[in-house]
């Protein structure tokens, strides 16, 4: 279970998140929609403390992320503990951010070995299985720059899965891809959803939201404007802003 309560975040004088309350049940898929600058990515990044929140609390399975509460005060955790928390949360970037000097297999196996101190041999075995799962078994020993965008993103998803995370955050996973490569990445996302992975996905793929999401969230100007099942938010939006946004995206 992921719980955000009263999350605020500013960059200088710009208030990017203005009080976010959100609950995500385990095993569900949540899709976040919204115009650029609405705070979607910042929200996602605050869930694994890539962005420090200014106010409010983020909890994953009851564990406060990035802070320790003593009485009424929050104390920021040391880097070591934050890194431990992050190892339980997968993150997939818009630009993949694969490590270019490591092979696909080394990319996938890096974190389990060095962050979770898992057995090296078993991890490489599992990494191969994960690459197979995203359809790239034959690309294990290839460097990221030798792969297409869609293949790179699938390696990045395998890399996130390797940590056996409680939840995976996707930050516009298909926005940097050529149109004909979007499908192969969305297929992997659909498989994960069907397997009961807890996922929060920031995306502009309305079609994906409609079929795969349990909850769709529409954000604007740092607030959640509207949330509910896809049939309600996408087909029967209650707010004008949601309607305007959808008409622009769908046209």
């Amino acid at each position: 279970m992921i719980e955000l309560t009263g999350v605020h975040k500013s960059f200088g004088t710009l208030e990017v998140l203005r009080g976010i309350d959100l609950t995500v049940a385990p095993g569900t898929v949540t899709v976040i929609l919204g115009p650029s600058g609405s705070g979607k990515s910042t929200l996602l990044r605050s869930i694994n403390h890539l962005e420090k929140v200014d106010r409010g609390r983020v909890r994953v399975d009851g564990e406060l992320i990035g802070y320790r509460q003593a009485g009424n005060r929050l104390h920021e955790l040391g880097e070591r503990q934050i890194l431990k928390q992050r190892a339980k949360i997968g993150f997939v970037f818009q630009n993949f951010n694969l490590f270019p000097h490591l092979t696909a297999l080394e990319n996938v196996a890096e974190a389990p070995v060095s962050a979770l101190k898992k057995n090296k041999l078993a991890t490489y075995e599992r990494a191969r299985a994960l690459l197979d799962r995203v359809g790239l078994a034959d690309k294990a020993d290839v460097y990221p720059r030798q792969l297409s965008g869609g293949q790179q993103q699938r390696v990045a998803i395998a890399r996130a899965l390797a940590l056996e995370p409680r939840l995976i955050l996707f930050d516009e996973p298909t926005s940097a891809l050529d149109p004909e490569l979007v499908g192969e990445v969305l297929d992997v996302l659909r498989d994960l959803a069907a397997a009961g992975t807890t996922m929060i996905v920031v995306t502009h793929e309305i079609g994906f939201a409609r079929e795969a999401a349990d909850t769709v969230i529409f954000m604007d100007e740092g607030r959640i404007v509207e949330q509910g099942p896809p049939a309600q938010v996408l087909d029967n939006p209650r707010h004008d802003r949601t309607r305007t946004f959808l008409s622009k995206v769908l046209s």
Binding site: R80, A115, P144
Partner: protein, 285 residues
């Protein structure tokens, strides 16, 4: 299809070849070069010893310089304002002072500080006479290393800055331990930007060792000066030193090529063949 003709290209090539031939002819026939003396001294024992000293100074200066450069770069990139400004000031000062001036300062340290003391701050300590602790060789090594460290620090910093922010984020998001983020993810990628500059610095250091002749240390340049001071054959002996510097630089360049190639893996889709591989392919064809 008839390819376009390039008459000026042919004219230019001809002109350059004529000039080169003329120069080569001069090298062979001008008695001033005195190749007999050159070959007599090129492998002479005192020259060999001096060469060894030059190599020692270069290697020791490079190792100490880069060891000093790492903390300097780390300090300048830290968020701690004190560490940042200390590093900035060090780099400012040691880049400003000419190496030769610095060397003379270190050699005259005993004039400033008669005795040096090691010990617990405000507590007991042991004191040594400065001139016994800092020999001429020590002063030279100290000067070269401190000078190198300032430049190495900036080279390392530039390499670290060249690594994409997304790489830091991905490493952090995966929860990799801090040292692992640095040594496994960031540094190997930074090396690509660090290496060409570091090689430049190393070659520069090799030649800068000739400046320590002011401290009467028997390195290559000092030694040939001693010899031509005795026999008056300036040009052939300068050529002895020159050719050795050129040979050492060539060796460094070859080393640089292969090290750069190693760190290029993954950065290029396919690595170009090495000169050896190209030669072998040409012979086979």
């Amino acid at each position: 299809m008839v390819p376009a003709r390039h008459p000026w290209r042919w004219a230019g090539t001809g002109l350059v070849l004529i000039l080169l031939a003329q120069f080569a002819h001069g090298l062979a026939t001008n008695p001033g070069w005195d190749w007999h003396t050159f070959t007599g001294y090129f492998l002479e024992k005192s020259v060999m010893q001096a060469l060894l000293l030059t190599i020692e100074l270069t290697l020791a200066g490079a190792v100490l310089g880069f060891l000093g450069g790492i903390p300097l770069a780390a300090m300048r990139l830290s968020h701690n304002p004190v560490l940042k400004s200390v590093s900035w000031t060090y780099i400012w000062v040691f880049r400003s002072v000419p190496l030769i001036v610095q060397l003379l300062f270190w050699a005259n340290l005993g004039y400033l500080y008669d005795r040096l003391q090691v010990g617990v701050p405000f507590g007991p300590g042991w004191s040594f006479s400065t001139s016994s602790l800092v020999s001429a060789f020590g002063a030279a090594l100290l000067g070269l290393s401190l000078h190198e460290a300032a430049f190495a620090g900036e080279i390392i910093r530039s390499g670290l800055l060249s690594v994409d922010q997304g790489q830091h984020e991905a490493a952090a998001a995966l929860g990799l331990p801090r040292h692992r983020q640095f040594f496994r993810i960031v540094l190997p990628q930074a090396m690509r930007a660090i290496l060409p500059n570091a090689a430049n610095l190393l070659v520069n250091l090799l030649k800068s060792t000739s400046i320590v002749y002011v401290l009467a240390i028997g390195e290559l340049f000092y030694q040939v000066q001693v010899i031509y001071g005795r026999n008056g054959r300036v040009v052939p002996l300068l050529m002895v030193a020159t050719v050795w510097y050129v040979i050492l630089t060539a060796l460094l360049s070859i080393l640089q090529y292969y090290v750069e190639r190693y760190f290029a893996r993954g950065a290029l889709r396919t690595l170009p063949p090495t000169p050896w591989q190209r030669l072998r392919a040409a012979i086979r064809a």
